[in-house]
């Protein structure tokens, strides 16, 4: 270059010196270049203005289509825990496998004809090629059917549905299955995140916890009663994603994520497990149709256990049958029979119709009231109040009841919570029946005093005994752990204490329920064996009930056991329900470290440091 320049300069030099310092100026060329360049500039600027100012939406849209995504973050349904924080119901993510049949039909032929029609010839090579695969030759579909556990014929039927764009193949599938299905790489098959509810304790709590449906909505029990609280809200956000799918920008929150609340119950799972297994054993041993048991902490109204049989495993929906699902302890009422006798004694004491030391003559073991007969099983002769309860004398309590006005007895029953809701707040609770009317025949009043003509649930019975045990204070029952509610004195304290003392005889020798005894503790309780009413009178089926308190000196727990329709020779509550009470009460007292009051324990003392 340099050489060239130096050689050309001498030539050009003289020329320019001769004419002008600058090269010739052509105004035509200058104008042409100037106009061309400015035209290009105007074109570019106007295009820019068009894109940026006049119509920016189009490109913005196109960009957004490629980068804006809505992501959702799933809020799982809250857990349910027992009083010690052990989970009783847990939600885990599960997947629904669904199919777009149209998409499948695009890639697979279901008939030979269709398959042959799908042949296209490659114009270059002249080779024939099927655009669709023959459905029944593919090995992937049988693999899918197998892993999802659906019959091949049914799968084929679903896929061939005309005009269908969506069908669930299987719901509540776990992650490994989804990964397997994804690896099959079948077109038209996709998965969708949902939630699976799992109950680690199975049938033990099935009746009280209830169930959720496939869309994670509570449909029974606590799951239904507290659905709004347990349910979370899935959050949705609009985000910008880059080419690799990484989120690079948070744009906006479309739906606030609401975390689900965890629910803590007052149930103690250790006691609940014992209660359920003992109840189940008793129901099976006595060929009974059903049974319920409730354990209540007297001084707070908290339910420590509430079990029913029959139950079912909520993790296996094939077992689902409505009758197994019922929480019988709160829904099923029965005539409480002799278990109301202590309440009658309490009523007579409240209205000063008797005193603690009174002796009542029950001989000759029967009495006629308005042409109907009330009888005891034996002629017990003269008895004091405690012995009347110990022997469960119908005559004894009838005589007490007849001294009372019907309204007075009814008021006492109502004070003990019969015919009223217990405050537990669960769906399906029954309040039982406490008929209110003004005219009562003597016989009706007498039968009411030994528990006929009124109905109650197992829970109400446990609550009534709880009121006796707490010195006449009634606490609203609760199954959800929360602040302790204030109690209300409904029965005079001294009367409640006296009746509890009288009930201690029941488990002693000669009482109706020696099998209710708990080693090391004194208990107070009462049996009840009532005939079941059926159309036209009372039939041959019985309800065996035992309700009781322990320890008798300082009552802490109230337990009511109900066994419905025990079959066989021994249908008396003392043989059927009392052993369940004894076992469950023993475990309850041991697990909650209640000091024995039996009086003959081996004691040792340890000096605290």
């Amino acid at each position: 270059m340099n050489r060239k320049r130096s050689t050309s300069r001498p030539k050009a030099g003289p020329q320019t010196r001769k004419k002008k310092v600058y090269p010739t100026y052509s105004s035509g060329r200058y104008i042409f270049v100037a106009v061309t360049i400015s035209l290009i500039a105007v074109a570019l600027i106007s295009r820019l203005a068009f894109i940026q100012i006049l119509e920016p939406e189009y490109l913005t849209n196109e960009a957004d289509k490629r980068s804006l995504r809505v992501t959702s973050s799933v809020a799982h349904r809250g857990n349910i825990e027992d009083r010690n924080g052990e989970e009783l119901a847990i939600s885990v993510p599960a997947y629904a496998i669904w199919v777009d049949p149209k998409e499948v039909k695009k890639h697979f032929a279901f008939t030979k004809d269709e398959w042959e029609n799908s042949v296209v010839v490659n114009p270059k090579t002249g080779l024939e090629r099927h655009t669709k695969k023959f459905f029944y030759e593919s090995k992937k579909w049988p693999a899918l059917a197998e892993v999802l556990d659906i019959p091949m014929a049914e799968l084929a039927k679903t896929l061939q549905k005309p005009r269908s764009r969506f069908a669930y193949l299987k719901r509540q599938v776990n992650d490994p299955v989804v990964q397997y299905v994804k690896q099959l790489k079948l077109s038209g098959i996709a998965s969708q995140l949902e939630s699976h509810r799992f109950y680690p304790t199975g049938e033990i709590n099935a009746n009280i916890l209830g169930l959720t449906d496939l869309d994670a909505q509570g449909i029974e029990g606590i799951e239904k009663s507290y659905n709004d609280y347990l349910e979370g809200q899935t959050g949705k956000r609009r985000v910008r994603k880059d080419r690799l799918g990484n989120v690079i920008d948070d744009i906006e929150v479309l739906k606030e994520k609401k975390l689900a609340g965890n629910l803590q119950l007052t149930i103690d799972q250790r006691i609940q497990a014992v209660a359920y297994s003992e109840l189940k054993r008793a129901v099976k041993m006595n060929n009974a149709t059903s049974g319920s048991i409730v354990v209540i902490d007297i001084h707070s109204g908290e339910i420590f256990a509430m079990a029913n049989y029959p139950s079912f495993n909520p993790n296996d929906r094939n077992q689902y049958q409505a009758y197994k699902l019922r929480n019988r302890a709160i829904t099923d009422t029965f005539e409480p029979g002799s278990t109301v006798k202590p309440l009658v004694v309490a009523s007579a004491l409240i209205h000063h119709k008797t005193n603690v030391d009174e002796v009542i003559d029950t001989s000759p073991g029967w009495m006629n009231l308005g042409g109907r007969r009330v009888r005891d099983s034996h002629n017990y002769g003269k008895m004091h109040l405690g012995k009347i309860l110990k022997k469960s004398s119908n005559i004894g309590v009838s005589k007490l009841a007849l001294r009372l006005k019907p309204e007075e007895l009814q008021q006492t029953f109502a004070d003990f919570g019969l015919g009223n809701d217990t405050g537990i707040g669960l769906i399906g609770e029954s309040v039982g029946r406490l008929p209110i009317r003004h005219r009562w025949s003597d016989f009706e009043l007498a039968t009411m005093s030994f528990g006929y003509g009124i109905t109650a649930t197992t829970l109400q019975l446990a609550k009534a005994y709880g009121i006796l045990g707490s010195g006449g204070v009634q606490y609203p029952l609760s199954i959800i752990k929360g602040a302790k509610q204030p109690g209300e004195q409904v029965i005079p304290e001294n009367i409640a204490r006296e009746v509890v003392e009288m009930m201690e005889g029941v488990s002693e020798k000669g009482g109706t329920a020696p099998k209710a005894k708990v080693d090391g503790y004194r208990i107070a309780g009462k049996t009840g064996t009532s005939r079941k009413a059926e159309a036209g009178g009372y039939g041959d089926d019985y309800v065996a009930v035992f309700a009781g308190l322990a320890p008798a000196t300082r009552p802490r727990f109230s337990i009511a056991v109900m066994i419905n329709e025990p079959q066989g020779d021994r249908y008396y509550a003392g043989d059927v329900a009392a052993p369940v009470f004894s076992e469950v009460m023993k475990s309850t007292l041991l697990l909650t470290h209640v000091l024995p009051d039996g009086g003959d324990e081996s004691y040792t003392y340890l000096e605290a440091k």
């Binding site: 847990i90 799992f198 690079i248 920008d249 040792t604 003392y605 340890l606």
Partner: protein, 104 residues
């Protein structure tokens, strides 16, 4: 003088020297623009990282829930009772073989 008047580069430089403030402002705009790009990039990386971490948190949560189920299936009370009773020959102490200890 003629040669220097001929040199375009020098002319441009001379012109720039007259408008030195504009030049500095221009350069500052350029730096600010580049820094803006850098910060945006940095932000995006952080957002991605946060997203990844929250995803990881979700996954751990799911794993935890599954482990919880496993734990509670294994420590179910009736199972423990039957294992203790049948396999380990354990029994609940009775009044005869237990001593009450009171700490004073």
């Amino acid at each position: 003088m003629v040669a220097s008047r001929d040199n375009l580069l020098l002319i441009i430089l001379a012109d720039l020297r007259h408008n030195v403030i504009l030049v500095i402002l221009g350069i500052m705009i350029l730096i600010s623009a580049l820094y803006n790009i850098y910060v945006t990039h940095e932000t995006r990386e952080l957002v991605t990282k946060k997203e990844y971490l929250s995803q990881q948190k979700d996954n751990l949560m799911i794993e935890w829930r599954n482990l919880l189920i496993e734990e509670h299936t294994l420590d179910e009370h009736s199972r423990i009772r039957s294992v203790a009773g049948d396999q380990l020959s354990m029994a609940q102490p009775t009044k005869k073989n237990s001593v009450l200890v009171e700490i004073r």
